[in-house]
């Protein structure tokens, strides 16, 4: 038995209008309710912040969402602190949907083990978490990226983009980043090893793509929607593949992406696939078989932007939704 604990949590104060602001969230402290029988109590060490949470707090993420007053959801790395399950003893490191809070209780089937060989457990949130699985689903399963491919990735240094780029490079493809500002350009080219980097603000995207991909783009991993989608699609090679995965601008609710003209897909003989990462949980074993050894060998760069303390989460999330992050955004709750 442990002493009575308080639980710090970030709750949704109100639904954001457009770009979220820190005032849309509240940090609250409440006594922990007793742990239900069979549940395993976990203490969050690292919390993953991801753009899709914007549509969850808008209440319309693939038909579900949360209401004001509720703890904001999110994937975490946590440490088991109370458990009756001998398979999950105290001090086990786990990955789970802990949310933006200090403590959370889970059935054992909702927990995943964190590989013990990691240099730091937070890497689990980028490489083995939602971003890594999304990148794997898009690049390997849907686009089937291979040698000779020319792959364009917007939000290029973010959680999903950084993983997708490394997968594409390892498969022998040429990689083109779309990002903004000198710091992200440096990360894209030097840290993540992109072959080219286009500044979405300073460069004319169409012209820059013609220079970087003179024979056309064979794979586009769309994380942002229009107008980037249509501009890249116009420079697609014949038979190009487009993976539709994210609509970061639409998530803010102040922008309604329209789709490219269907004639464009016909002319390019394109294959366009919609990707929802939840569908890939059943393939997690194949994904981990590929990723865990690479991660343990230090061959994947996670490119994290770490902020300290749960109270930093609202501001860090707002920066993420403005595209001001320089990598996978992680909140550290570890001492």
């Amino acid at each position: 038995m442990t002493e009575t604990l308080n639980n710090s949590a970030v709750i949704l104060a109100r639904r954001p209008e457009g770009l979220p602001t820190p005032e849309d969230f509240s940090v609250v402290t409440q006594p922990l309710t007793p742990r239900a029988e069979g549940k395993i109590r976990c203490e969050t060490l690292f919390l993953s912040l991801d753009p899709y949470i914007r549509s969850v707090i808008a209440g319309n993420h693939l038909g579900h969402g949360i209401d004001p007053g509720k703890v904001v959801p999110g994937e975490v790395v946590a440490r088991v602190i109370e458990s009756d399950d001998t398979d999950w003893p105290v001090d086990t490191l786990v990955r789970c949907q802990g949310g933006w809070q200090q403590f959370s209780d889970h059935p054992s089937e909702a927990l995943a083990r964190v590989p013990t060989e990691l240099s730091r457990p937070s890497l689990t949130l980028s490489v083995l978490g939602m971003p890594g699985l999304t990148a794997w689903a898009g690049m390997v399963d849907l686009a089937k990226v291979g040698p000779g491919d020319v792959v364009v990735i917007p939000a290029a240094v973010g959680g999903v983009g950084a993983m997708a780029a490394q997968l594409a490079r390892r498969a022998g493809a040429t990689t083109i980043a779309i990002t903004s500002g000198p710091e992200k350009r440096r990360i894209a080219l030097e840290t993540l090893g992109y072959d080219h980097c286009i500044d979405r603000i300073d460069d004319d995207l169409g012209t820059a793509l013609e220079r970087a991909a003179p024979d056309g783009v064979s794979v586009y991993f769309d994380l942002v929607g229009d107008p980037t989608l249509t501009t890249v699609a116009q420079r697609l090679a014949i038979g190009g593949r487009v993976v539709l995965c994210g609509l970061i601008k639409d998530y803010n609710g102040d922008h309604k992406t329209t789709g490219p003209h269907p004639g464009l897909w016909i002319t390019k003989r394109a294959t366009v696939s919609g990707l929802v990462v939840y569908d890939y949980e059943s393939q997690r074993q194949a994904f981990e078989a590929e990723f865990v050894p690479l991660m343990e060998a230090g061959e994947l760069t996670a490119n994290e932007e770490i902020h300290n303390g749960l109270e930093a989460a609202p501001e860090a999330f707002c920066r993420l939704m403005r595209g001001h992050n320089n990598g996978k955004v992680v909140i550290s709750l570890a001492d």
Copy 2:
């Protein structure tokens, strides 16, 4: 040697604005120029009229087109009337790109043989011609239609639609026609064997789809573009396949289709493929291996709308572009 012949032809008089009118075309008669060495002279028996010709005469069909003053192109069934090639003797029945004219000259590699067992050679233009190959490419190669699929086909009794529906039925799918008027409804249900028929004018498409496909549409063969595309896409089953093949409204130049919101493709985990039938010429052998026996056994209904005389072509084409045809439009030049 034959006597000097005149050649009747339909030329493009001017580029149509919006829906074409018969005045956009002229019927002319000119003396035949001498046959070049190695060419095979053919006399047209049947001429195929197809919607894609609208964008050819607009000058923008996949980067090519024709200018006013030129003979309108088109696929024909013809009879060899002059030949030095013993493989293609006089009286051989061939399929070729003869255009809207009485006589045309071709190298042997531009000719395809018409199966001799056909009840009438015009069937070649629907079943073995561009419409049949398009339907095969869309249903078999791209959508991989199979048992349990729910397939929606607009322009349902036209050349491509009629073939696609029969392929889908043979593969064990449920077929839903979108068409207009009682005559086409009768053809769709009685002649072509669709399971359901939705009237695009009298019915509310969304409501009718929910009734005919309560579990969603698994395959949509798009021949028309928006707004039908978006309405059907909204009722797509998870994992649905959409083959983008035609944009009949856009061909008329008075309508600019917009694409469905990319979020729709994501939510539906859709696979959207652009189809250009010219890419499938190299697979013609596989296609014919499947279609010729069926056609010879009378198992495919061509559903032709035959008009007599080359001079009937402009008016018949204009009806086609208004969607007033009741089947695959063929002009007979045979006596």
